[in-house]
Subunit: 452 residues, 2 copies
């Protein structure tokens, strides 16, 4: 996943070039040139561009897109914050038109991210059929087949002939219909078969769909988990997968591009889980909530280790040194959990290989989190060691050292992956062991040099 | 990725049912019934079935597949060991026919996995054109666009009319051609545009391809890294991506199903890298080679920590207890690296939620590896502590405790993820912290109870 980030980055350098040149032209007011560039640029790249510009720039560049169709497509590629900003600048008529032109699954995602009054206003002004479809989609949980599916598909009656089917395709007004497969239904609108466009072209004009379609169907239900959906699409190499209700009536289709997003999401989740970073939310509070439980868990593990070592060690020695020794596991555990969290956050969230402003913003955010952990655990630790374990004066020193360790682990967790990327080493492989060893040694040095 | 494994497993239970019923019918010699089942089963599922049967069963079931086309498709879904076993039972004529019918990228992968004499024999008996294509593909590195691409694509001259293009599609003999896009070339066979089947159907019969094709092409070179390929397909939501040489001549296409495999592979690699499990090779020796460097690295980190703590601590105390305390970081580091390696190996390689024979096979393999590490590090550690650090009698006890710690960490790393799965907890999230805390506490107990 993030290994790609330090490899040859054709895609990234291409989009950087786009951003720089558009910004330059924007400052010069060279609207004609910008229009020409936008016209030649693919919708996903315009999406990337808008995400890099500031509000005002993005809004006026968005207006320079030629057609409403392209605008709708671009809108489906930007994140929900920018979708909201762009839509708020448009009047009701234009927003409505844009949303109607989007794929129904993208439209549902977009409306789900808008303030309630704005989304209701748009929904109420849309064609009844469209708005009902989208409102339906918004009801399903995001990680179910229902939440993932689109209602834009080609369904045809099994009694049609090939010639009639081709005529019907040619008559479709919506260009966005995903149409590599035709889903074949019976008179009750229940799914009975599937047919590729290729098979259609290869058949005689007079053939009936029911005679040329594939009847061995693989389908999923509305409530099927998105990871099960991903496994099925992957296992059968499908380009899309039909979603049916309990009566086998076709409700929607899931396309392979959405499945790729699910697989990416999943694997980022796994890595974060392994690094004990919980939560999707990348806000400061969200990150705090995701990381805190694991830091706390490690702290209590360390406290157990302290109790164990200090009581067993009493047989051998009876000095403050025993308390220092018993504190080692706690110090190492907190250093390792914090540095792991920060380095994985850097690896998964930040693509850059440079110490640029984006890097320092992320670094300061992590350091801010570490600051809060430091304050919290310094105080709690001092209280526990002073009042519960009654360790005397070392309660102050070990608590301060613990705080320094947390701040140092966070700093190293930020810098080491980027330094390794600059050295063309794989940060995923080398970060963990390297950071752990350095953090451990520095923590031990602090503890045994200044602990007493 | 592996989170799915403990969720609702429609796919897995379906294929288990298939395996059990076919095995039962096989024992009864009910060939007719097996044939009927095989006829109704999708090729990827037959592939799964063959992987679960023993050699003889698999070979005779493979022969019951109706058509050579389906046989070729099934062959592309099984792993290379089974491909070899199945092909070795066939005569040259049939093997040749099967390989010719496979997609060229799958055929190249298959031949690459066969013994050299067998693959050359098959290649030499194939049509010259086919065999040259496949031999070409075998030259590119597996993780480059060239190694990933297939040479089965539709390319047409830009001067053709829509009517002529449709006729040409209908005349294609190879059913397997991937044909959602038509790649449009000029008179020098250079790629100049792309066209979807849908666009073809929507155009007038007399339109020329050059007038209706999309000219804004996104292409990759033969040597482009597979992860860059994955990013591009993902970014633009493509179903396939053309691969061109330096002169823009079309060399092949990469399809989205291969891209999904790349993404899966990548994310497993990232997770393994994070858990310090190197290497793709799942053999005993391969796993040893992948894991050993990280265990060794941790050991040396621990030795540094020992030197640091024992020299700093001399100021405060002068007894064997100092050596025990200084040994703590080494003991914890080795426990954590070993348990992490084993638990991630279990999470990524074993789908089962039960303590079945597959689980115990994996458990014993990991324990065998741990046994070798134990032997190695016990001896090395004893030698270092006895001869270099001259710690006296505790050299024996700490080395033995280190060995017990390694074996215990490996055992816990095997059992805890599966226990968590049985308890319906997410093993990815809970394994790491839980195992670390238990292994740490047990190691410390051993060390301070019996270390002197």
């Amino acid at each position: 996943m993030y290994q790609q980030q330090w490899r040859k980055q054709v895609l990234e350098s291409k989009s950087k070039l786009l951003v720089t040149s558009v910004k330059k032209l924007y400052r010069r007011g060279a609207w004609r040139n910008i229009r020409r560039i936008i016209h030649k640029t693919h919708a996903p790249d315009i999406g990337l561009l808008l995400e890099e510009l500031d509000r005002a720039e993005a809004a006026s560049i968005f207006q320079m897109i030629d057609t409403t169709e392209t605008k709708a497509e671009v809108l489906s590629y930007v994140d929900s914050k920018i979708q909201r900003e762009l839509l708020e600048k448009l009047d009701a008529v234009e927003s409505k038109k844009l949303v109607s032109l989007m794929d129904s699954d993208d439209a549902a995602d977009l409306l789900g991210g808008l303030p309630k009054d704005l989304s209701e206003q748009i929904l109420s002004s849309m064609h009844k059929e469209d708005s009902e479809e989208v409102a339906d989609l918004m009801r399903y949980p995001e990680d179910s087949a229902g939440g993932l599916m689109s209602t834009d598909y080609l369904a045809m009656d099994q009694s049609l002939s090939v010639e009639e089917a081709i005529k019907e395709i040619q008559a479709q007004e919506e260009e966005s219909l995903i149409s590599f497969y035709i889903y074949v239904v019976d008179e009750d609108e229940n799914l009975v078969g599937v047919l590729s466009l290729k098979a259609l072209i290869l058949s005689k004009p007079t053939d009936r769909l029911r005679d040329i379609m594939t009847r061995e169907l693989i389908t999923v239900g509305l409530e099927t988990d998105q990871e099960e959906v991903a496994r099925i699409v992957e296992h059968y190499d499908f380009l899309s997968l039909p979603v049916v209700n309990d009566d086998m009536a076709l409700e929607g289709i899931i396309t392979v591009d959405d499945v790729i997003d699910v697989i990416r999401e999943e694997s980022a989740e796994d890595l974060k889980a392994f690094a004990r970073v919980g939560g999707e939310d990348e806000s400061f509070l969200g990150q705090f909530r995701g990381r805190f439980p694991w830091v706390l868990f490690s702290y209590f593990g360390g406290i157990c280790a302290f109790i164990l070592v200090s009581s067993l060690g009493k047989k051998w020695i009876d000095s403050s040194f025993l308390n220092l020794a018993a504190f080692v596991p706690l110090l190492l555990a907190l250093g390792s959990v914090i540095s792991g969290q920060v380095s994985v956050a850097h690896l998964t969230q930040h693509e850059d290989t440079n110490f640029d402003s984006e890097f320092f913003k992320a670094f300061l955010k992590d350091l801010g989190l570490a600051g809060i952990f430091t304050l919290l655990f310094c105080l709690v630790n001092y209280w526990i060691f002073n009042n519960v374990f009654e360790t005397g004066k070392i309660a102050i020193s070990v608590s301060l050292i613990l705080g320094v360790q947390i701040l140092f682990a966070s700093t190293l967790g930020s810098f080491v992956p980027t330094i390794l990327k600059k050295m063309k080493l794989d940060p995923a492989i080398a970060s963990g062991p390297l950071i752990t060893v350095i953090v451990d040694l520095v923590g031990l040095l602090l503890l045994f040099q200044w602990g007493m």
